[in-house]
């Protein structure tokens, strides 16, 4: 057992004395430190006497490392929890989207089928429309040509009546002219000649009308 210093004057027995007065505060701090060391030494001595293990002070770096590792472990656990949660949510979202995509694909297939059918119907309708238009145009042409022929026939009929009248005048005049020529001395020659000219004009008009009718009918 070591000797316990007890200096009532409050001066340390390790303090050098060079003849100068000691600083009271410094002396007091040194005294307190010595007392703590002494107290610690006494406690260790007591522990040794009583058979208790000697308590040693742990290094600071060890404590700091443990704290850092602990924090890292906690952070890793939190991150793992977060990732687990987000993975679950993304998987759920993926499943939902897959369902939606499948529905859209089915809908698209159905719409594509409807569109194909509508296009086939449209093509058939357009074909029918073209045929109907061709038929309308053909009927309009047929009607117009028939009307042309009707008008032409009407004109020909009018010309035929005119020619018939002119032929009647021609034939009657020629008959009268023959009668006059049978007794030519009974008539004025100039009058007979003028009458003959008028009859010839009538006959020529009838012939011209006849030619016109032939032309209208396409008869050469």
């Amino acid at each position: 057992m070591s000797e316990r210093p007890n200096d009532p004057a409050g001066r340390s027995n390790h303090a050098p004395d060079h003849g100068r007065p000691a600083d009271p505060d410094q002396t007091s701090r040194q005294t307190a430190a010595l007392e703590r060391e002494i107290d610690l030494a006494l406690r260790r001595a007591d522990d040794a006497t009583l058979g208790r293990p000697v308590r040693r002070r742990r290094p600071r770096w060890l404590i700091a490392t443990a704290v850092v590792l602990g924090l890292a472990l906690v952070a890793a656990g939190a991150l793992a929890t977060y990732l687990w949660q987000t993975t679950d949510e993304w998987m759920a979202e993926s499943g939902r989207l897959e369902t939606v995509a499948t529905g859209l694909a089915d809908e698209r297939d159905e719409l594509t089928g409807n569109l194909d059918q509508a296009q086939r119907d449209l093509a058939a309708t357009e074909e029918q429309l073209r045929e109907a238009q061709d038929r309308i145009t053909a009927l309009a042409e047929e009607k117009a040509l028939t009307a042309d022929e009707r008008e032409l026939a009407r004109q020909v009929a009018g010309n035929v009546v005119s020619v018939a009248n002119q032929l009647e005048v021609c034939v009657r005049g020629q008959g009268q002219l023959i009668t006059a020529l049978e007794d030519v001395e009974a008539y004025d020659p100039a009058s007979v000649s003028e009458f003959a000219r008028q009859v010839a004009d009538a006959c020529n008009q009838a012939l011209a009308g006849s030619e016109e009718i032939k032309r209208q009918l396409g008869i050469e």
């Binding site: 404590i63 704290v67 602990g70 924090l71 906690v74 952070a75 656990g77 939190a78 991150l79 977060y82 987000t86 949510e89 993304w90 979202e93 989207l97 939606v100 995509a101 859209l104 809908e107 698209r108 429309l129 073209r130 109907a132 238009q133 309308i136 145009t137 053909a138 009927l139 309009a140 042409e141 009607k143 117009a144 040509l145 009307a147 042309d148 008008e151 032409l152 004109q155 010309n159 016109e212 209208q216």
Partner: protein
């Protein structure tokens, strides 16, 4: 010491969780791929009627001239509800004018008048015409595509296409000023046919064709504008040519 670390660890865990990002919302899937917009009806002179005929066809009329010792036919087109345009020589010497439409309807004719300076005439109908054209503001240019719709040979309604070859003096002396020469086919009966540009606007009135029918001659629309401004139904229809 361990007890003192517990609050610190809890604070670190909470702070770490609070700092983690929130799960972003994922957008719903949308259908992708090509989409075709529904066709919208177009307006203009080339629109379809309920019977499927184009306006350029519906305005075309067939003109029958009964007179001059026979029956002749030509073409024409409506410029309003009751006025149509054709050639002067189509209506010349007519005792009776008869007009029919693309679908065979016969229209009653009220009066006719002819221009003096061009081979153009106007005819007023008592019955309403099916549709009317829109006239272009200016004459076509060389190289412009054109379409002629009419009744060549007095037959069915047909159309021929070509391009404007140029402008020239009228070889028939039927028109004052220049006429349009195109390579759109025409033949007797096409006289009075409207000549359309690519927009469906009338840019000329066909009045003659070359002997082989490969070229057509047309009165330009500028002359038609002048004629419509000046012509009257009191103008005499010319005698038989």
């Amino acid at each position: 010491m361990r007890l003192r670390l517990l609050p610190l660890c809890a604070a670190v865990v909470l702070a770490g969780c609070a700092g983690l990002p929130e799960l972003p919302p994922m957008p719903d899937p949308v259908a992708i791929g090509e989409t075709t917009a529904a066709p919208t009806p177009t307006s203009g002179t080339t629109t379809l009627s309920p019977d499927g005929f184009r306006t350029t066809e519906r305005v075309a009329v067939r003109v029958r001239n009964v007179g001059c010792g026979g029956v002749s036919t030509g073409s024409g087109f409506a410029v309003s509800e009751d006025v149509l345009v054709t050639n002067r020589h189509v209506v010349a010497g007519a005792d009776t004018l008869q007009v029919s439409t693309y679908d065979g309807q016969d229209l009653l004719v009220d009066a006719a008048g002819a221009a003096v300076v061009a081979d153009l005439a106007i005819v007023r109908t008592r019955s309403a015409l099916p549709a009317a054209v829109t006239l272009a503001e200016s004459d076509p240019e060389v190289g412009d595509p054109v379409e002629v719709v009419g009744y060549p040979g007095g037959g069915r309604l047909t159309s021929s296409t070509g391009t404007v070859l140029g402008f020239d003096e009228d070889p028939l002396d039927a028109n004052a000023g220049q006429i349009v020469v195109t390579d759109a086919a025409a033949e007797p009966g096409s006289s009075g046919s409207p000549m359309y540009d690519s927009s469906g606007l009338v840019v000329g009135v066909v009045y003659a064709a070359t002997q082989d029918g490969t070229w057509s001659l047309a009165v330009p629309v500028s002359t038609l504008h002048t004629m419509l401004d000046q012509a009257s139904f009191d103008d005499d229809v010319p005698p038989c040519e």
